[in-house]
Symmetry: C2
């Protein structure tokens, strides 16, 4: 057996040994796609296992994340930092080898994957990031940014809409350094691919601006390697369809059973016996082969690049410094001095946010983003023109009506490094990108989501365009900081919070309609604690209003009216439950005292998260049905978001609590 074949068989046996030992995992792809991963890593992928965070490495996304065991086998053999025990702990608690690849857990993993469709879209983001940084930082004879982005995907990935959105955009943008390796084995979980999909990939992807290559035999490494070579020289993104056999050479080869059921211990032992050696052992030749062709060659490539980088630092110290700082960009402490909103200031928070974002972009070259065909409405737009095939320095990503890919691409941009991505849309359509937002949260990526048109105050466009449950959805998503500012100053502070956030996504929720300025910079600064007393009671504490966004003004107006009637109420602005729940317990109880019975929350949403603070005697003024099409003022009054109604409901609640 030649060394390539031997290495491939080693990958296969190590994969199924992990899976069968864990009694959990996906042998089908591991057995089928081993030659692809082997060929990619040993003959094409520019990575250095000892420098796995190297900014100019080729990126690799295992879109078919269920192929994790294969990836771990390779990362182990190529000395990325996994050891034998890690393989033995496949899918066990706290191990470096979780069920699907997780970027912060395993060295050499460039993206968390598993949810189908996300991988190709994240890779598209990585490829955009490379193009931008290359255009921005490279100098003649100093190509410090110059790498490919590879993806391994299966049939399922390509069926996902988010993939199709991303591929359509990648084709349009001519992302020539994006290469998709399509593990085409004609089988998916429910049976033959042909039972649900009979597209002609060879025609479809060229129509979308891609080159399509075909490898008729995935076991033929020359054919495979040649296709990879062609793809790398291409002027378009390339998809290589590679015919493989799911569960290759196993008892379940070429059947859906191979997908997700571990092989029996007997079968794995038999495979091991044929291969030779102890369980989990690998012949010296294989170690040597990978040492030479991945570890050493990668190190050589890294060192060659390092020479370039030293020259770059010498010749372009400013740019070198800038590039190094991009991921931890320290914004001028007084960046916000330009913005002073007086008492007369009255604009939609989306408009205020748009102005702030434009300014921030001039201060931070890594801020890149855009909207899903709504930039004129959301005010979320990159500067310096559209990023396009001919203009790689354009910082506006014109995503088209591709919300889901927008989110996943933002993840890819953040994963690449050097980019701080922001994206925008109507809040109700955050539904379309939720799977990508979940991955931002899971990967702790500082993606900036900006959602406007945040309530029934959208008005005439009607219920399809009016969010109700979206605030609850996002507030319930772990690690996601949802901020809904009440006015211009809170919006400004929110942006400062965003710029100082390094390790989790933020969703900024903004109004369509104008809102008056109700704070000053000092007061709004308390947004950092998530919630704060925006207007205290005067003498006694008869009750507390809790509200966020445009409803804070409503609470303030109700407070004024109630005072006239002898009820002395505090108003708490609550822009971020996430931050408030991180604040100290004592602060939380100081802002929302437990012993005040009449706590009334006001929010034009389902607003379920307020119940946590309302106790036995509080009241939630919310919306539990859908909106309607009508002018906003009419809707606010219909749904009870008027001073009169809020005053009335507060009094009812207060009387009930005090008649007991």
């Amino acid at each position: 057996m030649n060394k390539d074949k031997l290495a491939i068989e080693a990958l296969r046996i190590l994969s199924v040994e992990q899976i069968t030992r864990a009694n959990s995992g996906h042998p089908g792809i591991a057995l089928g796609a081993a030659p692809i991963l082997h060929t990619l890593y040993s003959k094409h992928l520019k990575v250095s296992p000892k420098h796995h965070q190297w900014i100019n490495r080729d990126r690799f996304v295992m879109a078919a994340g269920h192929g994790s065991a294969l990836l771990y086998a390779l990362l182990y053999l190529a000395d990325f930092g996994l050891d034998l025990d890690d393989l033995m702990q496949f899918r066990q608690f706290g191990s470096k080898t979780p069920g699907h690849p997780e970027v912060h857990i395993t060295p050499g993993v460039d993206a968390s994957s598993g949810p189908l469709g996300q991988g190709i879209a994240m890779a598209t983001g990585m490829a955009i990031g490379e193009e931008y940084l290359r255009a921005r930082f490279n100098r003649p004879e100093l190509p410090i940014i110059d790498h490919y982005t590879f993806v391994l995907c299966g049939d399922g990935d390509l069926q996902e809409g988010v993939t199709q959105e991303a591929m359509s955009l990648a084709g349009h943008l001519g992302l020539s350094k994006l290469i998709v390796l399509f593990d085409s084995n004609d089988i998916q979980l429910d049976g033959k691919v042909a039972n649900t999909n009979t597209e002609k990939a060879s025609d479809k992807y060229p129509a979308m601006g891609w080159d399509y290559l075909f490898v008729s035999n995935g076991e033929d490494l020359d054919e495979l390697s040649e296709a990879l070579g062609i793809a790398k020289k291409n002027s378009k993104p390339t998809i290589i369809e590679i015919k493989t056999i799911i569960g290759f050479n196993s008892s379940v080869a070429n059947t859906a059973k191979a997908h997700g059921s571990p092989l029996s211990q007997e079968e794995v032992q038999k495979m091991r016996a044929e291969f030779g050696g102890e369980a989990f052992s690998v012949p010296t030749e294989v170690w040597g082969y990978y040492q030479k062709n991945i570890v050493d060659s990668g190190k050589a490539q890294f060192e060659k690049w390092q020479q370039l980088w030293y020259r770059y630092q010498a010749e372009y110290p400013h740019e070198a410094q800038q590039l190094q700082n991009l991921d931890h960009w320290e914004i001028d402490e007084n960046w916000d001095r330009l913005f002073n909103f007086d008492e007369q200031y009255k604009k939609a928070t989306r408009a205020t946010s748009g102005e702030i974002l434009n300014h921030l972009q001039t201060l931070h070259p890594g801020l890149i983003g855009g909207s899903a065909d709504l930039s004129s409405s959301t005010k979320v737009k990159g500067i310096d023109g559209d990023f396009s095939k001919t203009k790689r320095l354009g910082r506006n990503l014109n995503f088209g009506v591709r919300e889901h890919a927008m989110g996943a691409i933002a993840n890819g941009l953040a994963l690449h490094g050097g980019i701080r991505p922001f994206v925008g849309g109507f809040f109700v359509f955050s539904d379309y990108l939720k799977p990508a937002m979940r991955l931002s949260s899971l990967m702790d990526l500082p993606v900036i989501y900006i959602f406007t048109h945040d309530s029934i105050a959208v008005g005439e466009d009607g219920p399809t365009h009016q969010p109700i449950e979206q605030l609850s959805q996002l507030r319930s998503t772990p690690h996601l900081n949802v901020i809904r500012p009440a006015d211009a100053n809170e919006t400004l502070v929110a942006w400062d919070v965003i710029m100082k956030t390094q390790n989790n996504p933020v969703a900024l929720i903004l109004t369509r309609q104008d809102v008056p300025n109700i704070t000053n910079k000092k007061l709004a600064n308390h947004l950092r604690q998530g919630a704060y007393v925006i207007s205290p009671e005067r003498k006694k504490l008869d009750g507390v209003f809790l509200a966020s966004g445009s409803e804070v003004k409503l609470a303030l107006d109700a407070q004024t009216e109630l005072y006239k009637d002898g009820l002395d109420v505090r108003v708490v602005s609550m822009p971020s439950f996430y931050l408030f729940e991180k604040a100290e317990q004592a602060y939380q109880e100081q802002v929302i005292p437990k012993d005040v019975k009449t706590k009334v929350a006001i929010e034009m949403s389902d607003a379920v998260h307020y119940y946590r603070y309302l106790g036995d005697n509080g009241l939630l003024i919310n919306i539990e049905t859908f909106g309607q099409s009508a002018p906003a003022g009419k809707l606010l009054s219909h749904y009870g978001f008027t001073v009169d109604n809020v005053v009335r409901l507060f009094k009812e609640c207060w009387q009930k609590n005090h008649s007991k």
Copy 2:
């Protein structure tokens, strides 16, 4: 001006008059696509305005829902039931002419639309419904089901992933009676389409199993009508790209400004002056033309069909009865007698549900559905084989890995009538179809969503596959009944609730792991009230456990342990917040008494909805972070879902409440 041109101009002026009067709406598509809608309705669409619910009418989906004013103008002129005042009330509170079309509000509207991408996917569902019912009910020379499904879409629709998923499936299934009219005007909201999309539609859609036709001039009615004629005879689904000019003949023609900003009053008055007559008036010739070509010809077609139907009823009384009853299928009261789960019964609720669903399908011929490539895991599969090009009676929809289209197609099936659709997937991936679920809820469609693998007990597949926030998301969605049964009997009752639900979607949330049977039929029957006392306190009421799904057993075990320590606790099973909140207030307070301080809720999710019932002194045992990859048992213990930990936390809470 010939009558066609005159009618088109009437549609245009009526559209912009509505929009400018409302000072809100989208003139661009109305002016551009008027010839398309005119040609479709007056020369091709088989509808009878006086019988707008006719089961055999051609369906029309205005996927580009922002073109509502144009649709209303046509429905007004074709006498579907809108009057002049309705047009004057465009986008006003309570009117029949909301901002985007809403199926339950306006006669002649076949689907609510507005969120881009949903329309083509819903139409795909309608076309599947037609194929199935046609195959099932037609008899020689009695084609009682035989109609087309038309869609009008814009560039934005085609960029959406959900559209691409649906079109891929429609092509695969050879839905030859599905016809997409693509209003191709080269402009979208953020500017030129070419700035974000340069696909070759003429190559792409044929590669996906569609025929592609091109109409070079949307103003040329002969060319348009000819293309429609060809499409109707086609053996594949057809997309007709029709070149139009957004904002045709207005001051903003051919610009993105035309999309969503009303024309000025002056401009509309000028257009009206050129057209002639008073504002909102229409020449007699146009009324006459539509009377003849839509109202009268539709009536004639309906009456011709009615003759067929009478013959059908006479010759096939059983089938006729069945067809008529499909939408209100009364299931045998004792359908569940087959299922008797004894004390030893222990299976995953997904498995129990799968058996029940299979049985129900034999009882109800309208039950059709499937999974997004997970039928072996979800146990959600249609009977009688795959629905395919050659087997239209197959009741399993093999959706492929196309979750989002699956949801939207289910909406289309339900909208068609005669079908009770069910769909299945992993719960965490409900994220992928949320936009479609929202539309099910908004349209009050009885779509059955079945989601399995409902918690961290998924185990080894890890955090990407473990739902956390999904229960909260769906519980917060209006009109959606989320049911998470605790055992086999609750699952059985849940299915009875589902079968009796006519006007809203249900999401059934099921375990991957085995759960013991903890109720009997009588007890589980209380699921109908949403929550109930599954195990009462014995003598005194020291506290209450609230739980759903697999955690109910945990609560029962903790109850037993606490009793040994002298604490007498009630356990409430809470499978459906939706139903519980519809139950009488007195019942609610009886089940969860307000005056019991120590209320402890247990759920392996974010579980925020329980706070509503926990008061000032309760405790929520939930998960506010992501899961991990490990065997389920290990995770349950790590995240604190063990009897010991629950007992400990209950005691802490109780002591805190009783030391005050």
